[in-house]
């Protein structure tokens, strides 16, 4: 088993845990945390392929990851802000109670 495969397995596990968390939890903050976990798995993949992938461009994976982290931080900030606003409005963060936008 090559080092790349080990990384990929860990990343797949991380992704699976994040996905399960995002799909099963009803607390909006925990869903956000699950999504962050999935992003981390993706970052891990990018780093791993960058190190072991054998591409010519050096550090392409690392640069990508830095961008993703920045975007993820921004995304989390927006998400948390939405959750806070919603909490102020409804006094809850349970996602299954958020159904005002149904058709």
């Amino acid at each position: 088993m090559s080092p790349l495969e080990r990384y990929l397995i860990v990343a797949a596990l991380l992704f699976g845990i994040g996905l399960a968390g995002a799909l099963t939890r009803r607390n909006a903050i925990l869903v956000l945390a699950g999504i962050e976990l999935m992003l981390t798995a993706v970052n891990l993949n990018l780093i791993a392929f960058g190190r072991y992938g054998g591409h010519a461009a050096p550090a392409a994976g690392q640069v990508f990851v830095l961008f993703v982290i920045a975007v993820a931080a921004a995304e989390t900030a927006v998400g948390l802000a939405l959750i806070i606003a919603w909490f102020r409005h409804r006094r809850t963060v349970q996602l299954d109670e958020a159904d005002e936008l149904r058709g």
Binding site: A22, L23, R26, L95, D96, A98, D99, E100, L101, G103
Partner: protein, 691 residues
């Protein structure tokens, strides 16, 4: 050409303009309305007097004549000219109409005070006076006809002024329709005249239809049964004149016109409406008098005028004898006096007829305004049987009325009516055709004196019978004299009634010389003529006749004062059958009702039937058809078009609702969708990668 003539259009234009302004004034502007109307007519009077002065100063055997013509309608090679003329005939009429009209206007201020339609009244009065002035001045038969119809319209409006009274509305309609019958004749005459001579302008420097060239053309053509074209046209015009001037058989409207306010009666009977007919004949006299070359004797048209006048004079006087309404007696006397005027025109020419027209205008206006004063003072009572003894209560009215009455009756020497009637009798005596009109006129004079005495005695002498009748509470108040605004015109007219006569006496026939300048030498002042045997004999005869009439009237009514308004008339006791016939006006109205009106009503009923069933049915059918079509169209709309559309819409809504159900609004569901999608995508890639 004188400087005044081109400006003379202002004379009729000012009152017409005043009428137009008055029509726009609000109802409460009484003072302004009366001021405007009177002011406009006063300016007209001033202009008329200036015009009279101009014509009086005119030299020449033909007299003064200034014409202003202008083209009005041009079509093809025809040109229709309008215009006005200033000659002695127009000038005296202008002065008479504006002077009498002005006095009546002033009088109306008092008589109509308090009427809620005061402004409207003065508007119509102005229209009336303006239209009449236009008739007098017209130098074109078309313009004359236009103004003539305006006079008819104004009379209709004024007779029906109190249109809330059914009698007034009916009288207005009757006046309008009856005069229209005559106007048809005038219109036909006008068309024929245009067809024959190519012009309707009276005087046009030799080309006018009243000038010798056209007149000899007309007289030279024979139409039928020995009548020349000029005679036929004259007879048609005479029909129009008879309608306007209330001659038999078209006189029926004139007595009914009494339903209007009394100043209107005065205006119609004295100055404007009825004088128009006489004036028309006087204006078109050259055509009436036209004789074919070589012919001798009186033209048939003039004979018709004379006989019509003489017959009407006696006919109307007989009716007047038996009337009881103070205004109705005067109305029939007007018809009778108009007959005299026509007689004068027929036998003696323009000057004779016009002299009587002028004197009559004065004293008849006086009599009507006096009657108005009586009615005003006695709270609307018009029945002479319920009046009486008013000389004490209304001294001024009595005195002036007496002057008017004596002028109308023809009391000798001092009153204008005597001289003008004398002139007519004199002309009738010398008429070569027949003595008949003379004897008729003499009989008319007797009757006139008689019925005026009867009226005078019943109204002003004896006891006042208004209170005794117990007709109503309003009779309780005693009669009173009218206000100065009403009595001053009376006094002025009374003075004029006396003075005017002296301009036409045989000794100094100034008016005749003025109106008939061709024979001016014949009319030179000469005191000896007054004492010639012929004139003296005639004067003695007519004086005897008049005095007989006065005495007869006094003997029948004055000897024993009438005390009971319900008592039968003194004449009725003597001749009950004749009296009833006269009181019922020879049943002319009934005759018309049984013939013309019934015939008319029959046609109207037929028209109604046609309207109701034939045309009405057609309309109903079309309506039914349209309704049926509309119903079918609605059915198609509702069943086919609407239902298909509705079904499509309903399905769209259902489908939309189903699609909208997918959007639950729940985040976990969406996330699961995203995950499933990503999984499917991954599997697809994996599967694709394996291959």
């Amino acid at each position: 050409m004188n400087g005044l003539a081109p400006q003379l259009w202002l004379v009729p234009a000012l009152p017409l303009l005043a009428a137009g302004v008055l029509a726009c004034l609000p109802r409460r502007a009484c003072r302004l309305a009366a001021g405007l109307a009177i002011g406009a007519l006063a300016v007209s009077l001033a202009l008329s007097l200036a015009a009279l002065a101009v014509t009086l100063a005119a030299p020449g055997p033909e007299g003064f004549r200034a014409v202003v013509n202008f083209p009005w309608l041009v079509w093809g090679e025809h040109t229709l000219h309008l215009g006005w003329v200033l000659d002695p005939l127009a000038a005296v009429m202008l002065v008479m109409v504006s002077l009498v009209g002005l006095l009546i206007f002033i009088y109306s201020v008092g008589y109509m005070a308090g009427d809620e339609n005061f402004t409207r009244f003065f508007c119509f009065l102005s229209l009336f006076a303006g239209a009449m002035l236009a008739v007098v001045m017209a130098n074109s038969l078309v313009l004359l006809f236009i103004a003539w119809e305006l006079v008819g319209l104004a009379s209709y409006l004024l007779i029906g002024f109190w249109f809330q009274k059914p009698a007034a509305a009916a009288a207005a309609k009757k006046a309008f329709l009856t005069t229209r019958v005559g106007d048809l004749g005038l219109f036909a005459g006008m068309l024929w005249l245009y067809a024959a001579t190519g012009t309707v302008v009276f005087y046009d420097g030799g080309r006018g239809c009243l000038e010798s060239a056209a007149v000899s053309t007309l007289a030279g053509r024979t139409v039928t049964a020995g009548l020349t074209l000029s005679a036929v046209i004259s007879l048609l015009v005479l029909l129009g004149a008879a309608g306007k001037s209330g001659q038999f058989p078209l006189h029926v409207w004139l007595p009914d016109a009494m339903e209007g306010p009394t100043p209107v009666s005065a205006l119609i009977h004295a100055a404007t409406m009825v004088a128009a007919g006489v004036f028309l004949v006087a204006r078109m006299f050259p055509i009436f008098a036209a004789a074919p070359p070589g012919a001798t004797g009186t033209p048939p048209a003039l004979q018709a005028v004379a006989w019509l006048g003489a017959g009407t004079a006696v006919f109307a006087a007989l009716i007047a004898v038996a009337q009881t309404d103070i205004k109705r007696i005067l109305a029939y006397s007007t018809v009778s006096q108009l007959g005299y005027m026509f007689l004068g025109l027929g036998v003696g020419g323009v000057a004779v007829g016009m002299f009587h027209l002028l004197t009559h205008a004065g004293f008849k206006a006086l009599l009507f305004l006096g009657a108005g004063s009586v009615i005003h003072g006695c709270h609307g009572e018009q029945d002479i049987r319920r009046l009486g003894g008013l000389w004490r209560a209304q001294p001024i009215t009595f005195a002036t009325y007496a002057v008017g009455m004596m002028a109308l009756a023809g009391v000798p020497l001092l009153f204008s009516g005597f001289w003008s009637k004398e002139e007519i009798l004199h002309a009738a005596l010398g008429w070569p055709v027949s003595r008949g009109p003379f004897w008729l006129a003499l009989a008319g004079a007797l009757l006139t004196a008689f019925y005026m005495t009867r009226q005078m005695v019943l109204v002003f002498f004896g006891p006042y019978r208004g209170g005794a009748a117990g007709a109503g509470a309003h009779d309780a108040a005693p009669p009173h004299e009218s206000s100065p605004v009403m009595t001053v015109p009376l006094v002025l007219l009374a003075v004029g009634t006396v003075v005017l006569g002296f301009f036409g006496t045989p000794a100094w026939p100034a008016l005749q010389a003025y109106l008939d300048p061709a024979h001016a030498a014949h009319f030179a002042p000469d005191l000896r003529r007054l004492f010639s045997a012929e004139v003296l004999k005639l004067m003695a005869l007519s004086t005897a006749v008049v005095l007989t009439g006065l005495a007869l009237g006094w003997w029948l009514y004055g000897r024993r004062p009438v005390t009971d308004p319900a008592a039968p008339d003194a004449l009725e006791l003597v001749q009950p059958g004749l009296f009833r016939l006269w009181r019922e006006k020879f049943r002319v109205d009934e005759f018309y009702a049984a013939t013309v009106v019934r015939w008319h009503a029959g046609w109207a009923a037929l028209g109604d039937l046609l309207d109701r069933w034939c045309w009405g049915g057609l309309v109903w059918l079309v309506q039914g058809l349209a309704l049926g079509l509309a119903w079918v169209s609605r059915l198609v709309d509702e069943m086919a078009v609407n239902s298909g559309f509705d079904a499509a819409c309903a399905r769209l809504v259902r489908a939309g609702r189903r699609v909208a159900g997918l959007s639950t609004g729940r985040l976990p569901g969406y996330l699961r969708g995203v995950a499933a999608g990503a999984l499917a995508l991954g599997l697809l890639l994996l599967w694709g990668g394996c291959r």
